[in-house]
Symmetry: C2
Subunit: 194 residues, 2 copies
DNA sequence: CGTGGAGTTGAATACGATCAACACCGGTGG
DNA sequence: CCACCGGTGTTGATCGTATTCAACTCCACG
């Protein structure tokens, strides 16, 4: 909870007093490594803010293969917009790749925060625009880049995550097989002695 | 302009009177087919709402190949968030695939609309969440689906666009070559006599 | 007409996927 | 303490899908 408070006070215009008013909307929860946080087809009314640990959103295709949409390490948000905003069931799964502590954030929290603190509206909007920007970038990468380029982009975007996430997961994020990723890494090692 | 007004009144909570107050922030513009609307590296402070015609956002890779991020036919929005919200230069190009009439929408318009009409805030937010949802879907498609599946998804998502957009453009949206798309279509024709 | 872009088709190629085998490590239980 | 096991990562051989390059047709448009 402290992590979330620090995060908010550092990044958003929410003050200490305003935070206290909103606190009742927040709940802390922990998921042991391996827990399913959200299952495809289920519903949920909250966003997860990761205080520590690592969550991951992924889908399963008809062959049972996993495709990772997003990783959420400390200070990241993750949530299912289908449930929260569109009264539909979740289209992806979320699980915990590490023991993870989260703050559950209701739609109500976001609403009230905007009432209590008018500037929070702009902050929240900026967050959404940033999210869109980031996803555009990812789409462009999937359209334009080779496996090797995607991997280099990945380790640049998440330098500290590379060691925490298995290559199986990374590969499923990059849209390649673990075997291919292994070969990409081998080729890079030969090139630059990484 | 009328198209935009109709659209707003149908989809958002903005009333006729409120619209009149905001009108001064809006400008109509037309782009002949083939015009560059925004160039990578440039800046812009507006979103484009397409009243008629068709815009398209795309990037160029280092081999000069085009990769289409988004099509924007009638009643769609398109814009460069890097410029508008993050004071950076555009990372993609936008051009007109048809003679296109747009309404230019400033950040100010969106701000004032939220001031004048409090419910517009929710509408705008929903638009952003919907956008994110849509892009998640696209990312998942690029990760999980074959060329054929992607094409089928495409014609389902944009049934009326298929005939207006050249296969070269569609291929660049799907992340395959025009030749591959041609073969995919041939295979489908054989299968289902489309 | 004739020119150039769009679309199709064929042949050769390349990149990543698949399948299979194996080394390695960490955890578990005998 | 060691044997076993399952999961991870590596490597090799083969396969398949999409790419590349090239030739050709077909229009639309000058």
């Amino acid at each position: 909870m402290q992590v979330f408070k620090d995060y908010l006070q550092q990044h958003s215009p929410i003050t200490e007093e305003q935070f206290q008013l909103l606190r009742k909307e927040l709940k802390v929860k922990t998921y042991p490594k391996g827990t399913m946080v959200l299952r495809e087809g289920g519903t949920t009314q909250v966003f997860w803010f990761v205080c520590s640990g690592l969550l991951r959103a992924y889908t399963l295709d008809n062959q049972g293969k996993e495709h990772t949409l997003q990783f959420a390490p400390e200070n990241w948000w993750i949530g299912d917009r289908n449930s929260i905003y569109f009264h539909e069931s979740a289209v992806f799964n979320i699980d915990a790749l590490e023991d993870t502590e989260v703050v559950l954030i209701t739609k109500n929290f976001l609403e009230e925060a905007q009432t209590i603190c008018p500037d929070f509206r702009k902050y929240n909007e900026l967050l959404l625009h940033n999210n869109i920007r980031h996803m555009q970038c990812r789409i462009n990468q999937l359209l334009a880049a080779t496996a090797e380029e995607r991997y280099l982009d990945f380790i640049q975007l998440y330098p500290n995550l590379t060691l925490r996430i298995s290559q199986i997961m990374i590969a499923s994020y990059l849209g390649i097989t673990p075997e291919s990723l292994s070969r990409v890494r081998k080729a890079l090692a030969k090139k630059h002695s990484y």
